[in-house]
């Protein structure tokens, strides 16, 4: 599935969190394959994953605005005239949200109220794609988890991300904004912040193996996950940004290649050609918010908008290792 992005050629696109992991990959793709006007807002808040180096390889210059979405007056300027907003800004760390829930609230909830209010005021016809998360489901009551699964987030980050998702849906139903929410599962790949374990265990596995450290597996590593390579998530965002059916909808992403965390560690080591792993007891603060096994159904987005992940796990791991190997000084 290679997308033809000429549909974006005459569009003005705003990417919030555009210096972050997914945002920067999206900006690079759009810059390469379309002539869209690309605007980026990023606060580079230290608790988030933004990194100015993430746009190092971009093929043409884009306008980068560094401010917090809560600065309404500046936000009005960059939102003015946009056709599509990819609203990716926010905190992703579950453990940090438990340590500092108020910061998570500001970045994951208040910021989005500001964005939605501003869109409503100055660009009410813009399509807005919000990166929600499977974390809203909490511990799976059935597998695979579809969009009708009960909501029961187990940590503050999950609550806050879900609250912002609901805002997007209400702004569609009440104010007619064309919002669409994608519930992302574990996403991995180039340009993720992997210098510590806070942004997720998968990136941390890559960090450990690339730094010659033993991969530490909490518990027995039997928890099942589904993973998406970042390019596949970018595919989904770009489809949702233009698809006529997306407005007002919520879609899971996901993968048919489910894998245990132990098997994932083994596969990363095998593909890298060296490395080792060891087991360790679950740290208390992680155990309490662990969700056990998870994999989602992405049947809805496949059937309604034709998205499927196109990069195999093996290929994704290979590309990811390659990228960080080539950019050690920036990311490791």
């Amino acid at each position: 599935m290679t997308q033809n992005l000429s549909i974006y050629d005459r569009s003005v696109v705003l990417i919030t969190g555009g210096l972050g992991f997914i945002g920067s990959n999206l900006a690079i793709r759009l810059a390469e394959q379309s002539s869209a006007e690309i605007r980026i807002v990023d606060s580079l808040h230290p608790s988030c994953g933004g990194n100015p180096h993430n746009l190092a390889g971009i093929t043409r210059p884009v306008k980068i605005h560094r401010f917090d979405l809560r600065e309404i007056s500046r936000l009005r300027e960059v939102v003015s005239g946009v056709d599509v907003v990819f609203n990716l800004a926010g905190n992703v760390s579950h453990t940090m949200s438990m340590e500092d829930p108020r910061t998570d609230l500001r970045n994951n909830v208040e910021a989005h109220i500001c964005l939605l209010e501003t869109c409503r005021a100055v660009s009410p016809r813009a399509r807005i794609i919000y990166s929600s998360t499977r974390q809203c489901y909490g511990r799976a009551q059935r597998l695979p988890v579809d969009e009708e699964h009960p909501i029961a987030p187990v940590d503050i980050n999950g609550v806050n991300k879900y609250a912002a998702e609901l805002y997007h849906r209400i702004y569609y139903h009440v104010h007619g904004l064309e919002t669409c929410c994608l519930r992302l599962t574990n996403t991995y790949g180039p340009r993720q912040f992997i210098r510590n374990a806070k942004q997720g265990i998968v990136g941390w596995f890559f960090h450990q193996v690339l730094c010659g450290e033993e991969i530490v597996i909490f518990g027995d590593g039997s928890q099942v996950r589904d993973l998406n390579y970042v390019d596949c998530v970018v595919d989904a965002l770009l489809i949702a940004g233009k698809h006529p059916r997306a407005a007002g909808q919520v879609y899971n992403l996901g993968s048919t290649e489910t894998i245990t965390l132990l098997e994932l560690a083994r596969q990363i080591i095998e593909i890298y050609g060296k490395g080792s792993y060891r087991f360790a007891p679950f740290p208390e603060e992680s155990r309490k918010i662990d969700i056990g096994d998870y994999f989602g159904s992405f049947a809805r987005i496949r059937e309604e908008m034709g998205w499927t992940p196109r990069i195999t796990l093996r290929e994704g791991i290979r590309r990811t290792l390659d990228f960080y190997e080539r950019n050690r000084s920036i990311y490791l």
Copy 2:
């Protein structure tokens, strides 16, 4: 069901929003029927329903602290040493939450993160009862609505109240705080802010009839509701504050006496002995967030903790009219 409140005699009780509608009724009851130490925090934020006159009839003095829950240093002082927190502070207006979502967020979400973090730090053994709302369900997919009904709030207030409910549940599961959430339905009675329609339609019906105005019914008035007289809600709070089964639980309140809004208007007029009503088109901003018919099942709290509403609708209306008639200058 008359409660014996001697169980509270040696307790230190904190009521957030204690100058508001439900909080003041709770404080008055506790002051009258127990020797509990009662502490009240209220910001008297103009968007909330607090009113210093609400405690006019209290039988013994209580300590009132006027500040915003987000002022952590002051909060630490009043939370220190408490046994039970009745966490009732917040905004209740659905329409105001749509007009000013950021204020609703501050008062209904950020304030509660501050309260929970403070309890965790200085009074981790305190029981915390949170007044949640049936608004988290949105439009009923089945009637009566029980606690397993899907979550789909239709306005910002509903999202924010639900986010705070989830915080309370997470602080139980992760940090062991003894939180309990009651999902209140329409509550009416003495000490409600009824000077405008923002705090709910039922209070506004009382205002209109007491001021000699026609009761204005939006649409055809056929929407079904369940109502609780405030004393019955106070019963539920006081049970939950001490019941061994309450920790970590979520309970609907409700009533077996369901009634349409039209029938409610007629009954208020009949009991008051004069008045009239007329129909009017639904204002656009109310229609968009209207939930249609609603009544909840309160089987869970009845079975687990023995609560049922004890004041009939007719008796509740009579007492409410009496109260406002006697206190016209303050409330009308």
